[in-house]
Amino acid sequence: MRSLFWQRVDFIARSLTPFLLTLVLVVLGQVPLHIPGFAEVAPILPLMAVYHWAIYRPDLLPAVGVFFAGLIQDALSGMPFGVNAAVFVAVHMIVVSQQIFFQGKSFLIIWLGFCMVAAGAVAMIWILNALFFAAMASVEAAFFQYMVTVGFFPVLALILVRWQRTVLAQI
C-alpha cells in the first residue's frame, strides 16, 4: 500500500518534469552572461522545449502548460502579455499536427523541422511586437537571434532526449 503511494508520487513527479524543465529554461534564458553582443541574440530556450515535447510527449506538456510557460516568458522578457503565449501555443499546435511525420525520423530531420518552426515563431514574435508597439524592431537582430536559436538546438535536444530516455522511460 505504502509503496504504491510512493510509486504514484514518483509517477506524478516525473510526469511534471517536462513542464518544469520548460519553466527552468524560461528563467535560464534571462540570466545575464555578460558576453558582448550576446543578450540581443540569446537563444529562445523554451521554444526548443516546446518543440521537443510537442513531438515526443505532448501528453506531458499539453497546450495549457505551453500557454502558461509563454505567459511567464512574456512577464520576464518585457514583451506584451500574450505574445510568447500565442507563439508557443501555435508552435505546439503545428508540431502536434505533424507528430506522425516526425516519429522515428533522424535527428537531422527533427533539426530541419525546428529550423522551419523557429523561423515561423520568430517572425510571429516580430510581427506581434510590431503591431503592439506600432514600431518595427530591427529585422537583423531578430534574424541573428533566430540563427543562434537554431544553432543551439542540438545541444538542448541532446539533453532533452537523454531526459526522456531516463527519467520518463517508464511514464
Partner: protein, 294 residues
C-alpha cells in the same frame, strides 16, 4: 507503470482527443490575443502582474546570476594577467593626464564656488540613489531591458534614471517590491531628450533595438560631427540635465547613430537615482511634492 490512456491508434502519445484539442488551441490563442488587447488598453494592471511575476522569480535569478558573474570575473582576471605590462604603461600615461585634469578641475571648482556665492545661487537637492545588481538581461532581440534586485522597498519609483559610472543606462519601467525592470536606452520604446554637448543642439535619442540608438528630431540644417558628446537635456522633466549618454558615431543618409557609453553586456551593478523629478512619466507624485525628501 505504463499509461496507455492517451495513446492514439498510431501508438503515439496524444494530448487529448481531436475535437477537444482543436477547441483548446482556439481558446488558448484567443486568450493570448485577448491578453494583448487588454495590455494595450490597461497598462497599469498588466505592469502590476508583470512586477508580481518578476518579484517571485527574482530570488531564483539572483542565485543563478551569481555563479555566472563570478565565473566571468575569473576569466576576466586571467585575461587581465596577460596584459598586465601594457595596461600598466597605459595607466601611467593616463595618470599623468588625469593629474593635469585634476588641477584644472580643482581650479574650476574653486572658481565655481566663488561665482556661486557672488550670484547667490540656490543649489538643487542632492539626489539620493540605490545601487542594485543586474539579475537578468531580458527580451533578446525584441525588448532591451534588465532586471535589478532592488525595488519599492528601497524607495524606487517608476521613471527614475538608472546610471553607471560611465553614463545613462535607462529608466525604471516597472517596479516590484524587491525587483525593478529597467528599459534600456537602446530599446525600441525608449525616447530620451538629449543635447549635443558642444553645440547645445536639442534632439531626442530614440532606441531601435540595435546597439546604436539614433538621434531624431534634430533641427533642420544641423550636421552633427562624429565624436560629439551627447548628454541628457533635462527637457520633459524625466531626467536631470547633463548625464552622459554617448558619442555620435559617423552619420550617413541622415541617420545619426550614437555610440552609447554604457554597454548592455557589461552591466553588473547599476545605480537607480532619485533626482526628485517625476516629469511627464508620472505627474501625480511630483504634484504631491514627495521624491526629494530622501
Amino acid at each position: 507503470m505504463k499509461n496507455n490512456k492517451h495513446k492514439s491508434i498510431h501508438g503515439l502519445p496524444q494530448a487529448g482527443t481531436g475535437a477537444a484539442n482543436r477547441f483548446a488551441y482556439v481558446g488558448l490563442l484567443m486568450a493570448a490575443f485577448a491578453l494583448m488587447l487588454l495590455g494595450k488598453a490597461d497598462v497599469v494592471v498588466m505592469e502590476r502582474v508583470r512586477a508580481g511575476v518578476i518579484d517571485s522569480v527574482s530570488p531564483v535569478l539572483e542565485v543563478i546570476s551569481r555563479p555566472v558573474a563570478s565565473f566571468e570575473s575569473v576569466v576576466k582576471d586571467l585575461t587581465a594577467l596577460g596584459q598586465l605590462r601594457a595596461v600598466n604603461l597605459q595607466l601611467k600615461t593616463d595618470n599623468q593626464n588625469l593629474l593635469e585634469w585634476q588641477s584644472a578641475a580643482r581650479k574650476l571648482a574653486a572658481e565655481n564656488t566663488q561665482l556661486k556665492t557672488l550670484l547667490n545661487f540656490a543649489p538643487g537637492a542632492e539626489p539620493g540613489f540605490v545601487s542594485g545588481r543586474v539579475i537578468a538581461d531580458t527580451g533578446g532581440a525584441f525588448v532591451h531591458s534588465i532586471l535589478v534586485n532592488a525595488g519599492r522597498r528601497e524607495g524606487i519609483t517608476k521613471g527614475q534614471a538608472v546610471v553607471t559610472g560611465e553614463g545613462l543606462v535607462g529608466r525604471v519601467h516597472g517596479v516590484g517590491s524587491r525587483s525593478v525592470r529597467v528599459l534600456l536606452i537602446t530599446d525600441l520604446n525608449s525616447r530620451i531628450p538629449v543635447v549635443i554637448e558642444a553645440t547645445r543642439t536639442r534632439a531626442v535619442l530614440a532606441g531601435d533595438n540595435t546597439e546604436h540608438p539614433r538621434l531624431i528630431h534634430l533641427p533642420p540644417g544641423v550636421v552633427p560631427n562624429p565624436g560629439d558628446r551627447i548628454v541628457t537635456s533635462g527637457h520633459g522633466g524625466a531626467f536631470p540635465p547633463g548625464i552622459p549618454v554617448g558619442v555620435i558615431s559617423r552619420s550617413a543618409d541622415g541617420i545619426v547613430p550614437v555610440k552609447t557609453y554604457v554597454h548592455r553586456d557589461r552591466l553588473e551593478y547599476v545605480r537607480i537615482v532619485n533626482y526628485g523629478l517625476q516629469g511627464i512619466l508620472d505627474a501625480a507624485p511630483a504634484a504631491k511634492g514627495d521624491g526629494v525628501s530622501r
